[in-house]
Amino acid sequence: MRIYALAVYLFLYIPIGIIALFSFNAGRHASQFQGFSTQWYGKALTNPFVMDALSTSLIVALSSAVLATLFGTMAAMALQSVHGRMRLAFDALIYIAVMVPGIVIGIATLIALVSVFDWLNPLLAAIWPVADAAPQLSLGYGSLIAAHGLFAMALVIIIVRARMAGMDRSLIEASADLGATPWGTFRQVTLPQIFPGILAGFLLAFTFSFDDFIIAFFVAGSQTTLPVYVFSSIRRGVTPEINAIGTMVLTVSLIMLIAAQAILQRGRKAG
């Protein structure tokens, strides 16, 4: 039984380990390790296309995670006092957002936005005061942030709600009885209790956006995120540079995940 478990763990981690190992390979041959070198990291980090894609990915992940955490937490709190049909509708939307495959979300967002833009752009041009200077709506940062923010928001709502379910309601009542304003109660009682959930939600939202390929593939427009860049370079051939980028991407998500887990675990003990 132990040997079996060990084999499964090796299966899960050896492929990742090999990528990490060969990212430090001095040679470019894929089957033999020819000495330690960080040259591929240097190559990746001075490649303007990689750096461009990385900055797009970071901007999109940060913006969508911040917005999703803010609006998701607000919604999770409000949903506590909402019942009946409205509650059912929100639950259904959260469920759909999580369950519908990314590829369907991607194409649906693509054709919906392109259709809306095709309809709005002539309208904007017609009403714009300066001739030929009207802004052209198109796919790019906005659509990436909006599409990633959707899934991320569903994620934040689920996590913050789970955290609230384990919260001691009597503390809130006590605070109100003692004359605290709603804002005071929120800041001093509710927020400290749900904060681990909010932070973990933010980290997961960021990780999701940073790692997502399929939605970005459809809605990125003229922008390129890091996963989209990696996908198209893999199509052109396997290079040690991709190993270095892959190792960095994995490291970023691993740090985020371990932080999220640690926060949730500690929150569970304290709460």
Binding site: F11, P15, F71, A78, P101, I103, A108, L113, F217
Partner: protein, 284 residues
Amino acid sequence: MQRQDLRTWLFLAPAGAWFLCMLVLPLIVVFVFSFGERGAAGGYVPAFTVENFLNLGARWAAFKNTLILAPLGTLSCLLIAYPLAYFLALRTSSRWRTVLLILVIVPFWTSILIRSYAWIYLLGGQGIPSLLNALGLGNPRLINTPFAVLVGIVYGYLPLMVFPIYVALERLDKRLLEASSDLGSPPWRSFLQVTLPLSMPGVATGCMLVFILLMGEFLIPAMLGGGKVFFIGNALVDLFLQSRNWAFGSAVAVALVLVMLVTVAAYLRFTRRWAGGREDVSLM
């Protein structure tokens, strides 16, 4: 009361608007477009026809591959995940359990793109085949085969299968197993008559989650199947980004979602047969 209501609405408004604009509206557009026609230069022309749905057979190969490899992948995940979940739930000390469990879940949250890429590396010509060749075991072609896609599927979705089964086994009342062995059942019999039936809700949840996600898979077949083993997801990418046939592509997407809904309905029927069949499974 009035003020409280207003605040609730204000707090819900941004999330609600976001769901409406980025989820409800796009899904409605796909549904409407699926009854439309392809424009001369691609894109969409409004129409009302069911021709797209009658034409679904043109992409039968993609549906066939998905409907063969998705259940096969789900089954492979189940067979590999069950013993591991069993080990984690019933054969580890609580000190190690959390760490081991986190180690299973963490890969699921890391980039599936990079993890599939790792297998291109391992299964490609300079990876395992060259190793086998050096050992004199021939030089089999592994990459761009259904086998490679299956390996990628198991690698990608194993964590998702382990977790619900673990939760079901962990909640299992251990006294039932003691009673069974006190009454003279050999371990294999206790397993078949107590453990296995009681873990079925977890098995059903894991299978449904993996199957549903596999139905919409694009990346694994694209990377490890090399255009030879393609899923509905790959057909969708081709229809939307290459041939720009939005109407037909929308019909394929609607068909995909319908197949998934049927799966979920079957799952709900299936789990309702178990006492307390509702399982709340979170992945974090």
